[in-house]
Structure formats: structure tokens, C-alpha cells
Amino acid sequence: MELSNLSIVLLGVGAMLSLSTGIILFVVMYQRRVVSHKHELAIIQLQKEKELSEATIRAEEEERSRIAAELHDDVGATLSSVRLYLRNANKEGVVNDAVTLSQELLDESIGKVRAISHRLQPTMLQHLGLQKALQSFFDVFTKTGAINIRYTSDALPPLNDAIALAVYRIVQELVNNMMKYASASIANVHTLAHNNMLQVRISHNGEGITEDSFNEYLEKKNASGLKNIATRLKALSGTIEFANTDNQYHTIIRIPL
């Protein structure tokens, strides 16, 4: 049977259009598959990065705990023994200025070792919670008279250890930086939990940093403290924000609960 001209053209055009549509569908579906694969890879990569950050933080905390324990149990105990010997020497009448001075320096050293040990391993955080630990940490600075840190907090829900420790360490680093570089005389710290999000706001009247300078520091070789903040926030999917209003610099930390 011979096909008519009309049938040939219609069939041919139809076949060509079907082929074109097939090619277009293939392109769309192939591209979607590639995009979906890329997203899956990105999720895996993100998960791996998060696991790596958590492992780094965990290892760091374990090392801090080990050093704190060594300082408290070994160095601290040795220094206490030396102090005891010096007291005995004092009782036995071997009194001179050198012994007295040694005793004073030793007391100071024991105090410093204890302080370092507590900083490395915040036992107060483990036993009394974030708010008490932060209050105690700020009191140390306020007592020096160099700065007045006022701490207020709304009622916080029970926090898991990882979040509490991360917030404590981040605040510790930010306050240390504020003491070193900001030349602030008054600071206010406020913690609150809202919409399943823990927020910490640190405000001071000194010189603060901006978001751009924070990101610049992260690119530099040093600034390990700020890098630690970023790592801890990344591990908890948290954010950091910087603002400047009415001669006050604000740093706002948000961590999902």
C-alpha cells in the first residue's frame, strides 16, 4: 500500500516532533537527576563536616578535662605539699623573708592553677547549670574592677550538655576577646529561649567587631578563638550576628534547641 503525500508529511513531522520531545524530556530528567545527586552529596558532605566538627570539639574538651585533672590533682597537690613544708619550716623557726615570700608566691600559684583548672573544666556548669556557671564566670571579671558585667536571663529549659558547654565556651571566648580588645567598661549579657531557639546577647560600650571583620578573621591564620566559635556554632547549626546601636556593640548567638 502506497502512502499518500499527506500521510508521509504528517507521519514524518510527527516522528520528528516526537523525537525532539524525547530529547527534551531526556535533558530535563537527566539534569534533574544530576541536581538531585548533587544535593544528596551536599547533604552527606554537610553531615561529614558536622561529625568532624563534633569530633574535634569532643577531642578538645577531653584534652581540656585531662589537663584540668592533671593540674588539679598532680600539680595542685604537689604545690600544696610544698606549702605544707614551708609552713612546717615556719613553725620550726626557720623564718626569713625568703620563706615568707615563697609562701605568698606559692599561695598565688595555687590560686592560679585552681583558676586555670576550673576554666578548663567548668565543674560548675556540670553541677549547677549554664546560668550559674556564666554568673560565676562574669563575677570573676567584675571583681577585678576593670569591667562591670551584668548578667540577666529568662527561664531556660533544661539544656543538653553539648549545647550548654558550647554556649559557655563561646561566651567565654567572646568575653575574653572583649576584655582584650574592646576597652569596654560596662557589659550586659542576656540569655533567653524563644521559639525553640537559645539566644545569648552580649552588649558592651567598647569597640566591637562587625560581621565583615569577623569573616575576615576567620580567613586568617591566627584568630583560633574566633575559629573555635565558628566550629562550635557549625556543629550545632547555630548563628552569630553583630550589630551596632546607640554606641553599643551587640553580639547575638542563636542555637536551635
Partner: protein, 195 residues
Amino acid sequence: MGRKDKMLLWWYALAAFLFDITAMIAKTMGHRIPWTGNVFMILELFLISSYYTPLFRNKRNAILLSILLAMFFIAHTLYIRPFNTAIPLERFRLNLTAGALFYLLYIILAMVGFYKLLTGPLLDNILQSRFFWVNVTFLIYASGVFFMFMFAERIRTQDIALGAMLWSTVFCGLNITKNILLAKALSIKDGTVKP
């Protein structure tokens, strides 16, 4: 593919619009000015090949190919065809056979475009890419018109009424589809899709 390439598409859309309007007015007034179709086909060749030239490493060869094709088309229209026709005026009528060659080229160019899309920087949503819609436009339009033009000469000599019917249905249908798809491509703003 940037703003300059979008301008080429606008020029193409304008040329197609002017040609369609001219053909429609001439037909309404009972005149036949078939040479405008040949001019449009050459213009179309230069605009489409210019649009796709950035995709090729050797741009000079791509331009040369377009010029050679255009020269072949002109030679075929003016000198080769009269030997096959009895009426001298027919040399100016729409050169469908050589035109089919152009449409074959557009099919290849659209396929190259798709290949470049798939092997280039990954787009989050390909349907938001102007270049994708341009390729869709030319692939659909050229593949339909290519087959029609291949057989149109034969139909035109054997059955004029059927030729006219196919022109006003199949070709016009493809032309409208092309214009809609081209409008979709042109409606996409620069930088809508980020790789």
C-alpha cells in the same frame, strides 16, 4: 549566554514578526512576494548561527560555515533551480530544499546547546534557563519544518492544494509554537538561574 545574545533573540523575533506581517498583508491584498521568505531564511541563518557561535571553540569556522551555507542557498535559488523550472520568475520563490539544510543545521545546533547545558555548570532548575528554552524552541521548530520542507517541493509540484493546506496548518502550527516558546525564552530575566 548574556545580554548580547538576548539582543540577537529579540532581533530574530522582530525579523520573524515583520516577515509574518508582510506575508499576511501581501496575501490579504492578493499579491505574492515569495522572495521575502528567502531573505528571511538567510537572515534567520545569520541570527541563529550568531547566537550559537559562542559555544564553539573555533568561532571563525562556525561563521565561515554560515557564510558558505548562505552562499550555497543564494546560488541554489538563483542559478541551479531555473534549470528545473520553466518559468523564470519561479527562481524567486521560497527555496524549500536548500532551506531544509538550514533547519538540519538548527537541529544540530540545538543538540549542541543541550549538550553544553548538560556538561556545563550545573543549574538548580533547568526550566528557569533561557538557553534551555531557546534550544527547545529551535529543536521543535526546526525538526518539524525540516521534514516538511524536504517533502514540500515534491508536494508543491504534484498537489498544490495539499501544499497550501499543509502550509496553513502544519507550518503555521509550528510557527506559532516557535513564537510561544521564544516568548517564554525571552521572558526569562538575566541571572534567574545560578549554577
